[in-house]
């Protein structure tokens, strides 16, 4: 039981990660794929923040007092960077989707493949 409580957050993170991966593999719609990517990214953020948490700790902002316990600030910094980079990735991906829709009139992967097979030069 102790094991389950201690590891529960990791397991949920893995379930979320796999949900994102499943969307990316099994859904043909390109916007849906990017949503899956976002799901995957956020689950990774969660994994890092979970690793930084210390029981009975407080946010890593220095306060006066004896024996204050702080959570680990390093994962927070890494994830701050990752969130911003993740949004930059999403923006480029969505711009590509808009261009694909302009050029082909569809954002479904199988239809795109069919069009591509008909006119390989396009």
């Amino acid at each position: 039981m102790n094991q389950v409580i201690g590891l529960y957050s990791y397991w949920v993170v893995i379930v979320l990660m796999m949900a994102g991966l499943y969307i990316m593999i099994a859904r043909y719609n390109l916007v849906k794929k990017i949503i899956g990517l976002g799901l995957f990214q956020t689950s990774i953020f969660y994994l890092y923040i979970t690793l930084g948490k210390v029981d009975g700790g407080t946010a890593p902002i220095l306060i006066d007092g004896e024996n204050v316990v702080y959570s680990n600030p390093l994962p927070h910094v890494l994830i701050l960077t990752a969130i911003v980079v993740g949004v930059a990735t999403t923006a480029v991906a969505l711009a590509l989707v808009v261009r694909i829709h302009e050029a082909f009139g569809t954002i479904e992967e199988d239809e795109l493949k069919a069009i591509d097979a008909l006119e390989p030069d396009a």
Binding site: Q3, I25, Y28, L74, V77, H101
Partner: protein, 199 residues
């Protein structure tokens, strides 16, 4: 108690993720993704990561939702129904997830103060003890972000700049020209077609 709150919020996230998988309406899925980010931000506050929570709420739930909505306004709202066989994908995902869960069995438990991440003398311990005298600000995350890992932040800025250039070169200049030439292909016509479909 804190752990309980965090775990309940995490469980919400799983339900939202299932909703995103099932939903065919892309607009609904995008809004669910925004809700997902917002709940994740709440959970980050419970886990003491207040700076991350700010950023996730503003950037993850705000800006990226706006980007998705902008993209949807240029494309279509519906994911086409597909009866394709996703059993192989399901099996692959379940096997990968099972292996990862097997890998967590010897990970440090949630909230343990004696795990390697918490006790490394050159990282967290040094930041907590020395940053007030070495850098100054009481918020240790700020000190680490701007000073100890300043090159990371510089690299992040470069990535965002590169992404901005990429988006502009993909969309920006070309779009205005195209709208001048053929206003009937303006972004508004796809959503109205979508409305027609719903009738």
């Amino acid at each position: 108690m804190e752990t309980l709150v965090a775990n309940v919020l995490l469980t919400f996230l799983v339900f939202i993720a299932i909703g995103i998988i099932v939903l065919r309406d892309l607009l609904g899925a995008v809004i669910l993704l925004g809700v997902y980010s917002l709940i994740a931000a709440g959970a980050f506050v419970v886990m003491d990561a207040v700076d991350v929570a700010f950023t996730e709420a503003a950037v993850g739930s705000g800006i990226s939702t706006i980007l998705f909505l902008g993209c949807l306004s240029f494309t279509q709202h519906k994911q086409k129904p597909r009866g394709h066989d996703s059993l192989a994908a399901l099996i692959f995902v379940v096997i990968t997830g099972g292996l990862l869960i097997y890998g967590t069995l010897d990970m440090p438990h949630y909230g343990r103060a004696d795990s390697a991440a918490q006790t490394h003398p050159e990282l967290a311990v040094r930041f907590l003890e020395q940053s007030a005298s070495e850098v100054g600000p009481p918020n240790i995350v700020t000190s680490v972000l701007a000073s100890y890992r300043g090159y990371d932040t510089l690299g992040e800025t470069l990535v965002v700049f590169a992404a901005g250039i990429a988006v502009l070169s993909l969309l920006g200049l070309k779009r205005t020209r195209r709208e001048d030439e053929a206003p009937e292909h303006a972004p508004g016509d796809t959503p109205s077609a979508d409305v027609d479909e719903r009738r």
